[in-house]
Amino acid sequence: MCEVKLSDIHFSYNTNVAIDNISLTISQGDFVAVVGPNGAGKSTMLKIIAGLIKPTRGQVQIGGKDIFTAKGHGLIGYVPQNYGKNAQGFPATVKEVVALGLTLGAVAAKKNHQAANHITNHMMELVGVEQLRDRRIGELSGGQQQRVMVAMALAANPQLLLLDEPTSGIDYEASARIYELLGTLNKNLGITIVMVSHDIEKAVSWANKVACINRKLCFFGSSKEFDDTHAQARHLWYYTGQ
């Protein structure tokens, strides 16, 4: 089980409150879209879930364990924001990057060369980058790079996939393909997905749950409920957090 439980999470940079008492539970197999205005604390919340930032107050539990204990068991796959900036000029091929994912997860698979090769090839096929296997990652488009990063995260066989703005700076068609890929991974492989997105309409249409935050939690429920809510109320949540 990979239930994600946030209890009274509070985080502040000096005196600026970024996250204010957020509590929510994400069940195994959920696809959660985290939405909200700029500076609402979406990425901060994702980093807290990933264990990259320690909250000022509160606790994050993954599968019943504290995040700092759960980290390092290959449970969590993380795809950061603005990944393309790091990839520029990076001399690794797509296959080398995807194979790096094995470093994140099962050591046994990495030690067995044949198994490692099989997993790497399978992940590249799964996200549709197998034809780019020998290309250098820095030479790919933003959408292709993002798919490679998802494949790398998947190579570790994670139960929880955290994505920070996976479609930022990507054209409409490429971002549609990324959402489709995430939807398939969630439905077919049962991977729990938490995705921060600015693209509210698209994200909500693929996710089954929505967390709307503006420093505090404004809404957490099914995407249908979020969709059915009066547009004006949604606008108010989104921009004012009331």
Binding site: L52, F90, G105, M152
Partner: protein
């Protein structure tokens, strides 16, 4: 060949080739981590270590090793605290090293020939002890890079991903800084403090032009570096010029040749595309 008959040349070649392997090995990570000037910074600190070591009666290389490792640890600690201005911290250490070296060299009576041999390298006077020390340090670097290769590569790509996976990024970064310091001190004996960074960076830059994968880039960088050491050393022997400078100029020459070849290939490809598209128009 007359060249290989001399003991000092055999020792110089062996020490040079080991340096030629470890410098681009560490340099491959240094370049993708965008820390290309760290070798220069540590080189200046090493110079302070040489003069400081001589001043307190230590073997200068030991003095350089102690101060360079301390400097590398300091640079890493500053980098962690000021991620946005990491190069600023490096610059401060760079200047501190140069300033200390100037102060120590005026306080001590180290012969200028000794100072110059550390500044410009002294491959011709490499002793058997130096070769053993360089081989030991080189083996240590090779073993650590072999076992940490994937983690170092992942951290060079994105440190946050490595962190989420539970990799102790702080410990590995610190270890990598210490390895870099070790390579600077090893390289210092061969090509000198002023040029050690070049042997870490230039062969890697040449290998990047081949546009191959990470491991292949690293392999080619080692080949270019060893070629530079061999050609540089041979040329310096026959032309009677400084070996350190000749090795680095050979590495730069290889870079220029590879850039020209790359440009020619790109030109040919563009031309081919133009011809094909003109046929298409017709």
């Amino acid at each position: 060949m007359e060249f290989f008959q001399y003991d000092f040349i055999q020792r110089a070649l062996l020490a040079g080739l080991i340096t030629g392997i470890v410098c681009p090995l560490i340099g491959s990570f240094v370049v993708v981590r965008r820390q290309s000037l760290i070798g220069d910074g540590l080189g200046h600190i090493a110079f302070a270590g040489v003069t400081g070591g001589y001043m307190v009666g230590l073997y200068p290389v030991v003095g350089a090793l102690i101060l360079t490792i301390a400097g590398a640890v300091g640079i890493e600690l500053v980098r962690r605290r000021h991620t946005e201005f990491a190069d600023m911290g490096l610059a401060i250490f760079f200047y501190a090293g140069a300033a200390m070296a100037i102060i120590f060299s005026t306080m001590t009576r180290m012969p200028s020939t000794g100072l110059l041999s550390f500044l410009f390298g002294s491959i011709i006077t490499v002793s058997l002890t130096d070769v053993i020390t360089i081989a030991g340090a080189g083996t240590l670097v090779l073993v650590i890079v072999y076992f940490l290769f994937d983690k170092l590569m992942l951290m060079s790509l994105d440190e946050d991903i490595a962190n989420v996976a539970g990799i102790n990024t702080g410990m590995i970064n610190m270890l990598f800084s210490i390895l870099t310091a070790l390579v600077v001190v090893v390289g210092m004996t061969i090509v000198g403090i002023l040029l050690v960074s070049a042997l870490m960076i230039v062969p890697v830059a040449t290998a990047h032009l081949l546009r191959v994968g990470f491991k292949a880039t690293m392999g080619w960088a080692v080949i270019f570096s060893m070629l530079s050491v061999f050609i540089g050393l041979t040329s310096s022997f026959y032309l009677d010029i400084a070996p350190g400078g000749t090795i680095v100029m050979t590495a730069i020459l290889l870079y220029i040749i590879m850039t020209i070849i790359r440009q020619c290939i790109a030109f040919k490809e563009r031309r081919k595309e133009q011809i094909l598209s003109s046929f298409g128009d017709e």
